[in-house]
Symmetry: D4
Subunit: 228 residues, 8 copies
């Protein structure tokens, strides 16, 4: 009963503009290290290991030096997670604005920022602009007008997505987070709220999915480049 | 198998400040008319018949003249519903501000307005101030400062409750409505959003429950009077 | 108890690139006609009336001639709905590819197409490329490569979003539909499936929300123009 | 990738009558300490740190002496939480009655009591008056008549809210708790029960949200003072 | 493709004390009539047809004279339903008390009453004793003490089950009903509330299942007889 | 805005052993007729139109004579549906046993029987063997031993799947139906019950999905033939 | 902020036939010990402490000697729980049959058995008679006929309740348990299955609620005695 | 209160082709060892212990030497689980193809493989062929054509089941897994997606239920043998 071979998706970047990333949960440290090594051995694009715990990070970095490491919050058991990047792309045009409603949403925003950085895009990250104090998001009017794409990272009721979308012409991707008390239902309330938003044009990714939101943003920013 | 006697709760107003109201759905027109007659025959406070369809309204008014009638939207089958009031209280101090996010939320707001009027309270009703166009609610700053209690009636993601609560010192009661597309889940999204609101101090009633929200407001406004 | 004034959001287009649209459900035919008239009287951008039934359409067109009308499926009660457009924008660059998994998804796709057309964008609409017959979506490889933005409209399990996203570098917006048998749960299954997609970079709008998906696409396409 | 600045909402108390509180979960001990320090440095109202674990409490108190500390139950992982108050307001008029159905609901009631105390309001806390032994709540008739606002803290089926609301003219805020066996669904049953209450005029906050309920009560009590 | 034969469960009464009943929904009028005829042709116990609409009732009675017919509310489409009984048992000892929280719960209570009557048991039916006016259920103290089994039929939050169970030594069967506003969730709230009841010893049947509750009561009452 | 061409999946039968079927809901009568015509014009296998209402059936048969038509119950609005078959396969080896728990489950069983017949397989259909009268399913012991595949069609709690699976060596496919009272949750209870079955080896299709269950059975029966 | 006094419900036994039990979760060991002491000091009936962990048990027994202790499974965190009884009633007539579907359901059955024993009733406990091997429950035919009340304790799909109820004239109380794989949904599947049971007359208590089921059984058995 | 005897289902294999397996969770190590011993002492078929933790495995092997042990992932608390087999059947004809969407799905696939091996069937296990990189599953075309039965093990949106089913004539059993981010809802999304699959003929087992899927496959493969 030998191990089935790892089936890496080497040409994914050519096909989709995004290289395959290694999603750490459920993989052994050795599997993480091997998957990263396999992707580094092939082509020359960025390589990402997401949601890695301490042992997975250590194994991957020991086998594959030269990684940039960013905190990405904790899993349900309280284990600290990290995003690791190898061979980040050179800086490119296209700026993402990432807004968070509260401080607790920062880890998800950080994951998005790390993925955008891996693809060469600069992020303006502004935390703690929840709508309970409306002036905080109104103060971001200029940033909202300048951004090529906006990511709104918010838990609880997720109202920031509706408000921010009403203040910008840019594409907006909502990222519901599992932040907040019981009735936030671990992010389901924010998810539903963003999907049912009264502001037209916001689209949404899964709960706490900073990685996916950044990939959506990279697709938008890359399509700008292709236009030119 | 004779009909069990109607068990009206005659002294409810003395006990709770709110007379028993007759909730029409599931009652025959004759049962509606009789229940109203029973309550009118007892004491001298306001009498309400809520969510009555055309036949129920007609029977109740035929048997008990002198009602004020207000539209209260439609039920799921599209039947038009009304709120009927007999023997409304004389005007009292205490003003409620009722905000709605959209035009579709008006029937629920109207039900609340009718119940408040039955107890003698004036309502300022401002429709269509959803957060997609933030200036609309910002224009209500003065009303928000002046109100003794604020009712926020909103469907979709219900974000107006969070924004309005952040702009007033008054008590705020959120009324989620079943307005909106599929992901509004017939009001569940707005309900969850208001319960998980990032603005502290908003409390919430059931979906489309304009009657209950008005009762909560009457309790607050009456407790002011008692203070003096 | 006079009617509260209609509070139209006249400068929304300047603020967000998208003019306010009139969402018909819950409005009387006269309210629809008046709202459209109000928006036409102000500025010169496109004006949309969405999900209008026959009476709402007729009233709006009688009061405001010159509309383009497109079918937009039926509501739960089986009433036929339409999207109406006045003063569509002149053709602009930027092409959207709209894929549907089945024929039953067409009304939602049509709503998206109508909104995109109102803003001057051309749509390539390809129906019936569900993954049960994989060659059908593989045949769209060229369209997928050429598109500036892709909308995937699918009910049942929504797998087309994952497959199509894996075949293009363009931004992809998923639109879950309420098509399909009991376990589709009126679109919830497709919604969850798209949110949990294994293909990174797909973002999602609410169930059957062709309007919202088109607005997201317009934001992406307009941000291209601003770049230049 | 430096830390985004903390964006405290300094003028929230002027705007809403309630100063910003620091919600500890998801913040590091140092972030908690800094946020409290920032709020203390600004203005002169009460400052609250809610749901703080031992390390967060210790760091906040070490950096900011003079706090009052109250137990606030445990989180899901069993960690003991506390509410900390700095610079509590001087005693004011207005009394809240807080009823709990069982002993297990006490931590949530305690959180509410601590927040009310921070704003200068006296609380009468009566535990263990669940409706299985009806005489216990009937014994509270006098307290119910005297209270300016009533908070009902109950898990399981939350029936105490319906019963207590039927016995008082005061505003009633229901606080569903996650107390109880499997079918309590971690508070969802009590939440739904309070929202669907047959007693008109109860409004509800999120599950276990003693903080939010107290804020709603403070809004009601403060609006009394303004009246005079 | 001939019709598969009807497979009636003739000896069910011997095995379980309860004869097979014919559940009308989904059966044609002819199938209803035939099933009743089949059961009447076999043995000598009571025969029931439940939730029959007008056509089903008419066909069953035309083919099988001598039925007693009782209203059993309406289905979701508003069709009036009835319970029909043939060959009711002679009166037996054992009395059931059926309490309803509101008038709208009567049809479900009536279905239970009809089934109990078919098995020879007397029912005391007391409607409209919801806990919002607590004196109404307290007035039933004597009935509660005298009953051999109590059925509590209640929608909304179902709190009557908890209160009544705390006032009697008898077995209590809760019947949640789909009565009430949006947050009653068509009976799910009452169902969960009864299952999570703080009063020990209440057991519950499905939503609106007056038939099932009566069967549970018949089992309890029959087991008394066997004892002697 | 011309109609996008119909994209029929002509070679599906070669690929999967099952020809494409036309799912009627959401298609116009003309679209149904054309889709059937397209499939008949291609190859020589069976062609199916499922869940067709009266108008869809009539249009399809008028344009494509020679269909066999079988009742398939009603949709939620009460419209009668039918399964239509053209060019059924010649009789083949392999027998399916279809058990239903109640008479109300027959339409779903009939849909499965029609699909199996289209592929040449004989079905033994035994209705009304629910476990409340256990002897009824025990009487099917011989049929259970002889069958090549068993389909269990059951609503309510779906217990028949567990019991039947414990009495046979054959593959068992469970088909939950939306039959039954409120707590059946329109088939979700039966679905969950079959998925959580204590009898190992039952697999399940979607609610009311007689078509899908038959397709699973055809795959199993065809794989027998290939073996030989 | 002194501790609110413990409000024990001393006369509950007289009112309901069941003394108040102390539910340990959420109480400190000292609170458990005091509550038991308070109840022992009053009257002479049985006293129960349920779901106590090791520390709670030890404190309660140290302060109140003479307890009988029975295992009651583990909580979600894996802590072992126990039922403790002081001053059990003398043996009375009335026998309960407790059936479990699997070995894993034993702790819940044991809790029920301990509560029944505290009230003087003998229990016949038969484990592992799940319907996958039908002969096991058929072997219990005699026990089923002899029992005065039957408790069916089952997880997974809970089909044993339907089967057992079809084999006895006795009252049947279903106890869904959180036993089983993912689709058992921690007992929700068994709960729904029992509520939707095709066997008339089964009533149900909350998930894993052996205590509540035993209380329901005690009510039934005591009502027998009163009859005589 | 002695332990109720273990009620092993010795003749299950004769009746269903599958011997009883011992499901470890909730059993003590001694109970596991005894149950295995009991089954080994009876007959000569394969004996399985599933989802055993380290202590359960050790006890069972110590008491019953000669087991084959395979990893089966971890439970929610992170404990490593294993499948143990005694007395595996001799190799038989019939090959299962097991596909997994990702590496994280391997433990569930391994459980299925171990159960198939116990019954003498060879498995081809191919991991990591998720549809984000479509060529990976297209590369399995030959395996898909050759297999007698296909198991698709996938989390997230479970789209692999739809795609694979569209590429084979073999019976396909879907196994949703709890792999993936928040919106995967611990496997519910994949479960719903597979049930609502647009590819006809896939049937599904419960979440993470590799054992059940293998049993379904064994039933299919054994029915082939019987045919001959």
């Amino acid at each position: 009963m030998s191990d089935p071979e790892l089936r890496l998706d080497f040409d994914r970047r050519q096909r989709t503009g995004l290289a395959e990333a290694v999603y750490a949960p459920g993989k052994s440290p050795a599997q993480c290290a091997n998957a990263v090594a396999g992707l580094l051995a092939d082509g020359d694009g960025p390589v990402l290991l997401t949601r890695a715990d301490g042992q997975q990070s250590a194994a991957a970095v020991a086998a594959n030096p030269g990684a940039t490491s960013t905190p990405a919050g904790t899993d349900k058991a309280g284990t600290e997670l990290r995003t690791l990047t190898w061979r980040a792309a050179r800086p490119r045009t296209g700026t993402a604005l990432v807004l968070t409603a509260g401080t607790s949403d920062l880890p998800v925003a950080r994951e998005a920022e790390a993925v955008l950085a891996a693809y060469g895009h600069t992020t303006t990250l502004v935390a703690d602009v929840g709508v309970a104090g409306l002036h905080r998001v109104l103060d971001q009017q200029e940033n909202l007008e300048r951004a090529d794409v906006v990511l709104v990272v918010a838990g609880m009721e997720g109202a920031l997505a509706s408000v921010a979308t009403g203040l910008t012409t840019a594409p907006v991707v909502g990222v519901p987070t599992s932040t907040g008390y019981g009735s936030g239902l671990d992010g389901v309330t924010a998810l539903l709220g963003m999907l049912a938003s009264c502001s037209p044009g916001v689209s949404v990714v899964g709960i706490d999915n900073g990685f996916g939101a950044a990939c959506a943003a990279v697709r938008i920013l890359q399509s700008h480049e292709e236009e030119r």
